[in-house]
Symmetry: C2
Subunit: 334 residues, 2 copies
């Protein structure tokens, strides 16, 4: 009898199979089947975006954030990726018997501050306490809804040949922070998570440029996995220039020390923006005017050839397919 | 330093303190502060109800249902309790490494069937796989949104002197089923969970009787706890006739064997309905016409005296306050 492996939660190929073979098989409906970061509920007017995520990050508190702020940012960002303005979040806690109440209060306070900063309300909640050993300290689910600001909404299936691919800032910060913290490694320059709410920046983007085709946040599986998903959903080729991808020197150093590829590391405050080339300068201007987008860079373009694939032009002038990993054995990154 | 006790998740007094002292303290806003089963989002037109619950029930599969169908019914019911028509659910799985995939498929299939029966769509999801030992097999969060069918929406704060209190059927079935299954006790007559979707029945009720004041499902903490919450929110006295409360003979027997009070046991397919006395017959007629409400009974009335309290008129003719428990040491009932 087959058993669930950690790889199934990696965001990579194994995750995709699990989703397709079990969840989509039984749950299939027009809303779910799009498999975007959020569901687009066009029946309600104005149409709503809805997204859910459970947060199981280990450690609970890390440089640049904690499970509480991450639970707000992550879901706010997923709702926003549909070109929507997140408005309401639910939050559900699963807590382990014996948890320090001070620690819980720290996390809750951090969630409240994150919600205020992102301009969303936490409107309903649930608390379960399970016996010691039935859960590791604290898991949080947040589900968000927001009003879609533009139609057609940006979607993973809307990348078109001729579009440019922009990333809003440096890649790999969150993933490397969690990994190094968990392994007890410290670097000379402290690396911290980029966890941040992107919704207000996205609101500026889509209100000024309603023609945005794709918005995605490269979380689990990182930039490489997310670009592969988009290439597959849109059936286009995505061509990326390796040298143009913004990566902090300390992240590059940490990755080479640990043998990791930053392109597969999770980000929690970055977005991938794909839109017609004629809007490139306007988009960069809006992004760079915001702290969260100040390192925004064009990293590639969308073509007809190599449909469904991501092609990386390396610094040495070669081309290679940037595949989706099978899994990555890196659970509890978010 | 104080630590979290199992009691904090019981739905009783300890739960209420945790919610007030930590969650409401930091999250306070007009939507959350009502503390009803679902949040009423009047900003969206038509107004929406939103509710969330994490399901951690142990055992995962029990007579009358499983964690999958329960996760659909529980959230569908919470949304419906606001006089709303649930339409969309998110579902988020936290899975333990090594879980049998066949078991996961069984649960997912059960969820899909429950959603179909309740006429809701599972529109977006999330899957986390955590290392062995970080979670006990499978936890599921569902968050639901629905359109509020009547305004003002039924709410825990709307019980008024002169109202009657109706319960839609027998009490204690779910709680006793889970408990006896967990303790390996079997009774001569099999007891099974009442887990069921109440939304279609509620739709009939509120469309015919928009003047319904309160709708609540007595889940964690049971009938006694839920009535206490309503008495507190509405600042009224709720007077209940012990002999009129419908309880199956086998549940009575099981409870006396195990030393449990059925009034504090969880239900997952029952509703408490509070409305002006003049609608009593019409409400009973609608309820009894439906399989899920065929045992509906008037169990009491709402008065001015004993505001905030629940008074039980016992079979022996005496009156006693039916208090909310401090906790109940019965985690993972839902």
């Amino acid at each position: 009898m087959s058993k669930l492996l950690l790889d199934y939660g990696s965001g990579g190929k194994a995750s995709q199979r699990l989703i397709k073979d079990i969840f989509v098989k039984y749950f299939s409906n027009p809303y779910l089947d799009k498999l975007d970061d959020a569901a687009f509920l066009q029946e309600i007017k104005p149409p709503l975006a809805m997204s859910t995520d459970s947060y199981t990050v280990d450690p609970i508190i890390f440089p640049g954030g904690d499970i509480g702020s991450l639970a707000v940012h992550g879901t706010v960002n997923d709702v926003a990726m549909l070109g929507a303005k997140p408005k309401f979040l639910s939050c559900a806690f699963i807590l382990e018997e014996g948890l320090e109440l001070d620690l819980l209060e720290t996390i809750v306070k951090s969630m409240a501050e994150a919600a205020k900063k992102a301009e969303v309300f936490l409107v309903t909640g649930d608390t379960k306490v399970v016996p010691k050993g039935a859960v590791d300290k604290i898991f949080i689910n947040t589900t968000g809804i927001g009003e879609v600001l533009v139609e057609p909404a940006p979607a993973g299936s809307r990348a078109r040949p001729g579009d440019v691919v922009i990333v809003s800032g440096t890649i790999g910060d969150h993933g490397l922070t969690i990994l190094s913290k968990r392994q007890g490694i410290s670097f000379e320059t402290e690396i911290k998570s980029d966890s941040a709410p992107l919704n207000l920046l996205i609101e500026k983007l889509v209100k000024n440029i309603p023609e945005v085709h794709v918005l995605r946040d490269p979380t689990r599986g990182g930039l490489a996995t997310t670009l592969n998903e988009i290439a597959g959903q849109s059936q286009v080729g995505i061509f990326i220039e390796e040298d143009s991808i913004p990566i902090r020197e300390e992240v590059k150093g940490g990755c080479s020390f640990l043998g990791l590829d930053p392109l597969y590391l999770a980000n929690e405050g970055k977005l991938i923006l794909i839109l017609p080339q004629k809007y490139q300068e306007q988009a960069l201007e809006i992004l760079k005017a915001d702290t969260l987008g100040q390192d925004a860079t064009v990293i590639g373009e969308v073509k007809e050839e190599y449909a469904g694939k991501v092609v990386l032009k390396t610094g040495l002038g070669g081309n290679r397919l940037l595949d989706m990993l099978e899994g990555e054995q890196l659970p509890r990154i978010c």
